[in-house]
């Protein structure tokens, strides 16, 4: 909890700094606020910000960089032949971390002294057992190299933390003395505070970019690792998805992509006509009363979390489809086409229902953007409303509607819960919508949940799939947003 205490100290110090800065400014002005350049609270804020902001920035950078630095340093200590076949360095490193954590706890609880740790011999003392008693479970006995690395890891972490505390404290001190020294009735405290505030605003705004970088970075590295372990040709051009935790898996994206696109297609087949006609009816025909009644209800459909739709697919729509298309002679059609509740149709239908309000509200906006004069022109020539809609409004709104459909498609491709619960787990290239199929998102979830070993291609493939999903949806979004934006500019 040292970080927590460090932050608390900084907050406390800034509060004190605020009071001191404010006081000093007032004293310098002889107690007359009007003699100050800025309001007294600005002087206080200036000191408080100088004490807290730079140290906090240093702190967060340090916290991010320290593990990276230590790990690369400690990892170099582990001899290459130490790493067994099929075991990744990161697995060894997690052992190192756990041992070091265990040593920490042991010292904290008084079971060992710090000096004892330094001379600890892994063979002589049953370290695994002793750590096990502390709740640190290790897979195997601790080897001397690992113990050495762990000791090194421990001391480096401790030194790092100490250095961090000192550096942060120094920054706070420098910040205080500088800002406190500057505090004077002529000092432009407001401008200084506003510059600081602006810097904070910029940091907040750039967090969006940081998130994107984080997304790309987090997936890119593991994707590269994956392609180091698995043939990229199999991933992109193979035809089979058959993960096998003994190794030798066939991991091709194509069957998953097929399942994803098939389900999304059925979803759009449901959502686009219904959503579009609903939007047309609401914007062109419905009176105010119907609009104010139906629109909020449609919005409710949009606000329902996807887990609810997933459950609806798994427990309601799926069994209902089985009753129609399955069960042999007991079924409604007397056929045996469907065995389980999960299928492409189940997931597609439910996803379609979910997308109806999405399509309709986007199309509604877009149809409303078509100027009324266009409709008047057509009606004035003696066209009926439906002729006006079909031949004037829809063609005029077409680019926008295409954009809306693309956005809906991107939603469908990235949707997770409905397919996890409603689509099934079998990857195949079938065209039969009553069979269960699997999707990219479903596989990401199943490869990354449960016991994950970040060294195996079976786990890492999830990152490659995530990357593919990200690129696919991002492409669709950029295209859709571009089309919609160009469309809107046409009528602005």
């Amino acid at each position: 909890m040292t970080t927590f205490w460090l932050i608390s100290c900084l907050i406390l110090l800034s509060t004190a700094g605020f009071a001191l800065g404010r006081h000093r400014a007032l004293v310098s002005a002889g107690g007359q606020v009007r003699n100050l350049h800025s309001l007294p609270s600005y002087y206080g804020t200036n000191v408080a910000l100088s004490i807290s902001v730079p140290p906090l920035a240093v702190l967060s950078v340090w916290l991010l960089a320290q593990p990276l630095f230590i790990e690369s340093h400690v990892a170099a200590m582990i001899p290459l032949e130490m790493i067994p076949e099929n075991v990744n360095l990161s697995l060894v490193m997690s052992d190192v971390r756990r041992v070091s954590e265990g040593l920490d706890i042991a010292i904290y609880q008084g079971l060992m002294s710090a000096g004892e740790v330094e001379i600890l011999d892994s063979e002589a003392s049953d370290l695994r057992g002793r750590l096990g008693d502390l709740g640190i479970a290790l897979g195997s006995d601790v080897r001397p190299e690992i113990l050495d690395a762990a000791r090194r890891y421990r001391t480096m972490s401790h030194d790092g933390r100490l250095m961090m505390t000192i550096v942060v404290g120094l920054f706070a001190l420098v910040g205080f003395s500088r800002s406190y020294g500057q505090t004077d009735k002529d000092y432009r405290a407001r401008n200084a505070v506003e510059r600081g505030g602006m810097a904070l605003l910029i940091v907040a705004a750039s967090l969006a970019i940081l998130t994107t970088i984080g997304i790309v970075y987090s997936m890119l590295f593991e994707t590269i690792n994956f392609f180091g372990l698995h043939n990229w040709r199999d991933f992109f051009f193979g035809t089979t998805w058959a993960p096998n935790f003994r190794g030798d898996s066939e991991l091709s994206i194509l069957p998953l992509l097929w399942g994803t696109l098939y389900i999304s297609f059925i979803a759009l087949l449901v959502a686009v006509p219904i959503g579009l006609f609903a939007a047309i009816y609401l914007s062109e025909y419905a009176n105010t009363a119907t609009r104010s009644f139906a629109k909020p209800l449609l919005e409710i459909l949009a606000g329902i979390p996807t887990i609810v739709y997933g459950l609806f697919a798994l427990l309601t729509i799926g069994p209902m489809l089985v009753r129609v298309f399955g069960r042999g002679d007991d079924g409604l059609l007397g056929v045996e086409w469907m065995t389980g509740a999960t299928s492409v149709l189940t997931a597609g239908l439910v996803m379609g229902i979910m997308l109806i309000p999405f399509v309709s509200s986007l199309s509604d906006d877009i149809i409303n953007a078509v100027p009324q004069s266009m409709r008047d022109g057509s009606l004035g020539l003696g066209a009926t409303k439906s002729e006006t809609v079909r031949q004037v409004v829809i063609p005029a709104a077409l680019p926008g509607i295409v954009g809306a459909v693309l956005l809906a498609a991107s939603r469908a491709i990235g949707e997770t819960m409905i397919v996890v619960m409603g689509a099934g787990a079998i990857a195949n290239f079938s065209g039969n919508p009553l069979e269960s199929m699997t999707t990219i998102t479903t596989r990401i979830v199943s490869q990354l949940t449960g016991d994950t070993d970040f060294a195996s291609p079976e786990t890492l493939v999830a990152f490659a799939l995530g990357m593919a999903l990200f690129v696919l949806t991002l492409g669709l979004n950029i295209l859709a947003l571009y089309i919609v934006r160009t469309y809107r500019e046409q009528y602005d």
Partner: protein
């Protein structure tokens, strides 16, 4: 253009095309048109003038039931087209609007080609049998709207790419192609520059040969230039209606006189 002075202009009396009897229009709680009676003659340009908000556009939109699209608008009284009440329950507004065409304040060509813009009316009303007939209708309409020479080489270019004045003449061609009997024009020149305005005004004068034209305008000069008959609206009332020359030179009502001389408006 008609260069004769107003009083010299000879106005022949034509058949009555549209007759309004005791027309009242309510917009929600507002009484927009109060008991208007008017007779619009065939093959004549009738101008509706008056200050903004006087109800002239509202009344114009009553004549082809464009007000039906506005929920809050209620029309009572009778408007007869060739003796038939257009507000009769049996009348289909779609059929009515084929006979009473409309040109709007802002040029509103559809986002289609010039050809498709003009062909739109004939297509929905089924006015042709073969493609060549349609071509002929389009050409005739564009010629009558005096824009044929400007667009004949680019009939497949989008109508929205034309200049404002050309767009408005395209809209007139579009209305003419449907072969209406009456052409309603709602301030057709208000969005145009003076040169385009002159072109459109000249066109209106020619259109009189084939149609009964009703034009709403802000500009008294325009009314004087293009119309044979003028109706002056004020606060929802039809104050004065008569030959354009008489209304402008010898107004009977004090309000008309004040408006013409620029004291109200």
């Amino acid at each position: 253009m008609n260069d004769m002075t107003l009083l010299e202009r000879k106005v022949e009396t034509q058949d009555i095309k549209i007759e309004a009897r005791n027309v009242q229009v309510h917009y929600g709680n507002t009484h927009a048109i109060k008991d208007v009676n008017v007779k619009i003659e065939d093959k004549t340009v009738t101008a509706f003038i008056g200050p903004s908000g006087c109800g002239k556009s509202t009344f114009l939109r009553c004549m082809n039931r464009m007000n039906d699209t506005i929920q809050a608008c209620k029309v009572s009284g009778n408007i007869l087209l060739d003796g038939e009440d257009i507000y009769d329950k049996r009348v289909d507004p779609v059929q009515l609007r084929a006979k009473v065409g409309m040109v709007f304040q802002k040029p509103n060509p559809f986002p289609k080609s010039i050809y498709d813009n003009v062909a739109y009316g004939p297509k929905i009303h089924g006015l042709y049998n073969t493609k060549s007939e349609l071509d002929e209708i389009v050409e005739t309409a564009l010629r009558r709207a005096a824009i044929w020479d400007e667009v004949k080489d680019r009939l497949n270019a989008p109508g929205t790419g034309l200049s404002g004045g050309q767009q408005q003449r395209l809209c007139i061609a579009r209305a003419v192609a449907t072969a209406p009997e009456v052409l309603l024009m709602d301030e057709p020149c208000s969005a145009l520059d003076p040169i385009a305005t002159a072109q459109v005004e000249e066109l209106i004068d020619e259109l009189r040969q084939g149609f009964s034209v009703v034009i709403v305008t802000h500009s008294m000069q325009q009314a004087a230039r293009v119309s044979q008959r003028t109706a002056f609206f004020h606060l929802g009332n039809l104050v004065e209606f008569g030959e354009t020359g008489h209304v402008f030179t010898n107004p009977q009502d004090a309000r008309t006189e004040s408006y013409i001389t620029g004291r109200i408006g």
